[in-house]
Symmetry: none
Subunit: 160 residues, 2 copies
């Protein structure tokens, strides 16, 4: 594991308390970089590539005196199985009908609630509409885009 990015990623992961499904930690970018003997922007790279919303993390930061970086973990432990399952269900492209059925099913099973379903519906419709009227995208391509978006959102929820 001579990869610095992976080392720092692991270090940050260790900071999270493994019991809590939702927790957050704080860092000083400068100090962390110093302790790993690297340039500060390396930390940004780690965050950008490893601690994204798609992976269930939210990051907040503040510059200036007493600056900080806070990383929040929203997801549960070990969602791997479910991720695969979601990917399988959604597939590479999804029609409007299928996606409605899927969302209904997910809600029934308690994987998402009504509000979450609403946001997802709105985002998918927006993407479809934009592709249709602003960029003249074919229906199939729109279905591909929506499948991608849907998978990302569901993955971020990581659960169930």
């Amino acid at each position: 594991m001579s990869n610095l990015t992976r080392v720092i990623e692991q270090y940050i992961n260790d900071l999270f308390d493994s019991d809590n499904e939702e927790s957050s930690i704080s860092l000083r970018r400068k100090e962390l970089a110093a302790s790993f003997g690297c340039v500060p922007s390396q930390i940004n790279y780690v965050l950008r590539s490893r601690f994204t919303p798609e992976k269930g993390y939210l990051v907040e930061s503040q510059r200036g005196g007493h600056g900080y970086i806070r990383i929040m973990r929203i997801s549960w432990e070990d969602p791997e199985d479910r991720l695969r399952h979601v990917d399988e269900i959604v597939g590479d492209a999804i029609s409007e009908q299928d996606r409605r059925k899927l969302l209904a099913t997910l809600q029934e099973r308690g994987l998402i609630n009504a509000r979450e379903r609403l946001i997802i519906e709105v985002a998918l419709r927006h993407a479809d509409e934009l592709g249709r009227s602003d960029f003249d995208v074919s229906q199939h391509k729109r279905n591909v885009i929506q499948a991608d978006l849907l998978k990302r959102m569901l993955r971020s929820l990581v659960l169930a």
Copy 2:
């Protein structure tokens, strides 16, 4: 000595909490500054950076004898009010930074929770990425698209 601004912000927040959920409080700038051992303009900085309309506050003040500063917390009770306010804050275009701050505020205020924030972030990132790499959309246009999407998602939640 931790961040003075944050300490004063916390002090003011406590005033709101302790005052029977009052929706507005009053201060004397000079006294407050004195009690924190800082320069009076520090108070202005706290107000400008922390008690903004984006965060749901309005500030009015009076100079001269019997001067004062009054901070009002904008009501989020009525769904219609929330809707109008959110629309106002988001505006026609929103930068990545502003949208992140807004979502943090909305979560703090309890209008959305962490999971909802996560889905919203993912949808916005997806829209941005798609515009950037697939359709070569200008940054401003992407900010317009994201503002539109964000408003739609938030509207759906506010009315839910």
